[in-house]
């Protein structure tokens, strides 16, 4: 223990002994408590969900190629968009960044060996598996589901389709999300490095923390909502059923008390990823650190006060509608604060247009449009016109796909060399990003136009007047699909065949880069040393290792001694 050694590949470079080969056999994965392995399993899981739901989307878009298409029956069309939405929201986008990327890097950013509750972490993953399984069972067993991902009553009480399986699945997925939230919140609170104060945390941590707050406060309400809906279907308890004096609009209140905050579960981690990417690829200290940090928390809290903007046309009372509309506008402020800070960070930075940065730039553009159109929807008079049209569809796809999916891809490209110790083909990565960006805009921009001209959402057929927009949109969707496929192909190829890289190829300064690539089973082979996550000047190039290390470690005398991991 504790002998001074030079910075070696095992500590900072490319490590041949790492968490991938620390143990082997399927059991070493299925029962692993290692946050990195759980993160990778989550990544495989959510990507599968993404591709599955993506296929549903392409089927939908193909159906909509012509105005009175008979490719799908109307009933099948309803089931298809419901499954697309439900799988995308509950099984893909909510767990995507926190559970896959967050699991990988959150403990390492804190210099910790693992999250606070590794078993809970594994359980969260298995709950994800079970929940997604239940959701899919609704199709495989031939029940189908045609309520839309929102499960609105009273239709969800009456329909013959497999609402119980699907809601049971969403219920379980909710707990999976809660457990991730609890784990992250506690880990950030109690497992930071000594000296790592709240304002020395990378901004990704702040955003995951804010996300955890929402997961903890909002998701239980989804749980009780779905439980009540299940009881409603099993024994007609009547709470949401007007036939027994119940209140169907109450369901919408319940649902959106969770689901509006949930849209911030989707976007906050994405914003955290972007804060990291913009800083690293501009090689500049992030501008307005504390504003970005606090705006995450502000978004998390304000997000609880606006759910009524989904009920503007549901018979909600005018006073409440006014209040919700006003607060909705105020949520845009912290979002804008972030965007301005990112732009200011790039100003006079030395910008490197590597693949992650390309995704970060697309994010800023697409999220900007998505957020601004949200304001149109939050304004009462326009929402009456735009509600339940393709305008809303375009709005939320701009923030969820243009925002979250883009950030996920950017984050994956950024942390991929850390996870796998291998580099991807940057040129192909950028091509993928370009396809995603173009395909995305081609898909969803026409939807703004047709939405504002009155094309209602969730319709299997439409007036031929809109056909041209639908056709653009369908072409764009396939392009987007190709782009995403290419991006994942580049990543997967790199994981196996890419050239090996050292611990910190991108000259990033946060703690997770202070380890080997791929990291050791215990994350760090030395006791990690607290450094400033945005002080890029402190990183120096080490020729022996062909990677960047903190200047503290450049002097062999200062390299922290290697710690022998303890095994129980």
């Amino acid at each position: 223990m504790g002998t001074t050694i030079k910075a070696t590949p095992e500590i900072f470079g490319h490590a041949e002994n790492n968490f991938f080969n620390a143990s082997s056999g399927w059991k070493s994965w299925a029962f692993t408590l290692d946050h990195k392995r759980i993160g990778i399993m989550y990544l495989i899981g959510v990507t599968t969900a993404l591709f599955l739901a993506g296929v549903f989307a392409l089927v939908l878009r193909s159906h909509l190629w012509i105005a009175n298409s008979e490719m799908l029956t109307p009933a099948m069309y309803n089931q298809m968009f419901t499954l697309h939405g439900a799988v995308m929201v509950f099984a893909f986008i909510i767990p995507s960044i926190p559970a896959a990327l967050g699991n990988m890097v959150l403990p390492m950013m804190l210099g910790a060996k693992d999250v606070a509750f590794p078993r809970l972490n594994l359980m969260s993953f298995y709950l994800w598996v079970i929940g997604t399984g239940c959701l899919l069972y609704a199709i495989l067993a031939g029940y189908g589901l045609d309520t839309g991902w929102t499960f609105y009553t009273p239709y969800s009480i009456e329909t013959e389709s497999g609402v119980i399986y699907a809601t049971a699945g969403a219920f379980v997925l909710g707990f999976s999300s809660i457990f991730t939230g609890i784990n992250f919140l506690v880990t950030v609170n109690t497992m930071r490095l000594p000296g790592q104060g709240w304002f020395k945390l990378p901004l990704f941590i702040w955003s995951l923390y804010a996300t955890a707050i929402i997961q903890i406060l909002a998701t239980p309400v989804l749980g009780i909502t779905l439980l009540l809906l299940i009881s409603e279907r099993l024994m007609s308890i009547g709470i949401f059923d007007p036939r027994y004096g119940g209140d169907p609009v109450l369901f919408q209140h319940f649902f959106w008390f969770y689901s509006h905050p949930a849209v911030y579960i989707m976007i906050l981690p994405a914003m955290g990823v972007i804060s990291e990417l913009i800083a690293v690829y501009s090689q500049k200290r992030i501008f307005g650190y504390s504003f970005i940090a606090f705006s995450s928390v502000a978004i998390a809290l304000l997000g609880f006060l606006v759910w009524g903007h989904h009920l503007f046309t549901s018979g909600q009372s005018l006073v409440v509608t006014l209040i919700f509309s006003a607060i909705t506008f105020s949520v845009a402020i912290p979002s804008a604060v972030k965007v301005f800070n990112w732009l200011a960070t790039m100003y006079k930075g030395s910008i490197l247009l590597a693949t992650p940065m390309c995704y970060a730039l697309s994010f800023i553009f697409l999220f900007g449009i998505g957020g601004l159109t949200g304001l149109f929807l939050g304004a009462l008079s326009t929402d009456i016109h735009l509600h339940d049209t393709y305008f809303v569809v375009a709005h939320f796809h701009f923030v969820m796909v243009g925002g979250t999916l883009t950030a996920l891809l950017g984050g994956l490209f950024h942390w991929w060399p850390k996870m796998f110790g291998r580099m991807y083909n940057d040129m192909l990565g950028r091509v993928g990003c370009f396809l995603v960006f173009t395909g995305f805009n081609l898909t969803f921009f026409p939807q703004f136009v047709m939405g504002s001209r009155g094309m209602p959402r969730r319709y299997a057929t439409y007036d031929p007047e809109y056909q041209i927009f639908h056709q653009w949109s369908t072409i764009g969707a396939f392009l987007l699909g190709i782009g995403i496929l290419l991006a994942f192909a580049v990543l997967v190829y790199a994981a196996f065949k890419g050239p090996k890289v050292g611990g910190n190829p991108f000259k990033a300064a946060s703690l997770e880069w202070q380890s080997s690539s791929p990291p050791d089973f215990h994350n760090f082979l030395h006791k990690p040393v607290m450094t400033d996550p945005y002080d890029f000047d402190a990183m120096v190039y080490d020729e022996d290792l062909d990677t960047y290390i903190h200047r503290e470690f450049a002097d062999p005398a200062k390299v922290p001694p290697r710690v022998e991991p303890i095994h129980h």
Partner: protein, 354 residues
Amino acid sequence: MATADPQVHDEHEHGEFIAHHFDNAEQQYDSGKLGIWVFLVTEVLFFSGLFVAYTLYRSHHPEIFDQAHVFLDKWLGGLNTVVLLFSSLTMALGVRYAQLGKNKLVAFFVLITMVCAAVFIGVKAIEYSHKWDQGILVSSAFNYTTVHAVPATAIGKALHISDYLVYLSAIPAILLVGFLIAAVGFTVGGKKILGIFCGCMAITAGGYFLGVVGAQVYMNVTDGGVGGSHASQPILLYAQEDHAADDQAGAVDDHGDANEEHSADDHGSQASHGPDPTKFVRDIGIFFSIYYCMTGLHAFHIIGGIIALAWILWRSLLGQWRSDYFGPVDYVGLYWHLVDLIWIFLFPMLYLID
């Protein structure tokens, strides 16, 4: 910053109870403690939906609550409140002795807590089965009759108890017998600790029957059992309803269509048989939907608590608690107190409506 001082990097002595990713016992304890508090936050919000439903219907339809609550016996509810409060005390004592490392006392107090939990479930079983007997169900199935159903099962007939009670008691009975056999078996086989554990579990299952018998005796004494056909509370309802109808006339008018017409001729016969169902306000069943959701979810948490407590009991019997490692007792204790807290509110909200 970085120093080459090897001392700093020495691992703290890692007791076998400290998980590898924690630095020391205190960090582990603090993490667990914050974790359980946050878990309790999710529990509160989980229940909050039901509190919303309750508040909403109570404020929009007070007449339903006025009329329906009399089906709940405030003395049984009060008894259960006392039982839960007592279990909270014993739980708190269990935590105290875990902090002092006195494992035998922890086991003792945790066992009492478990028995109280089982008594609570027993009393609830009586309450539920009596309601089901009389058709007091969720709104769609609400079909109140003043007479109890005649028991059809052999046990029901023999013991003169509700069939539903027989069904509800099946699992506790199996557990009681199973654990008794296991306790004897393990003790004879020389596995002393397992024997004691199974014995404690059998005692807990016995607690359920303690609750059932106690509450059934109470029901019989107050003439609410299957034996007596006229329940005490419905008589109470009737007395109260008469004057509730007066000062409520305005509120009930639109819904309580049948309110006035029947009262005159039915009056005599009902006084001894409970309320006339035709006099119920519309949607009265929704009260019971809310009642069953709230108390059912709560009972579910009690059962979960018993399982968690059993785990604590087992580890106490193994003597695992010490003054620097008692976290799990503390965490389960906090959970248990939360279950108690929720009941503290459910009790006046459901049983004590004036």
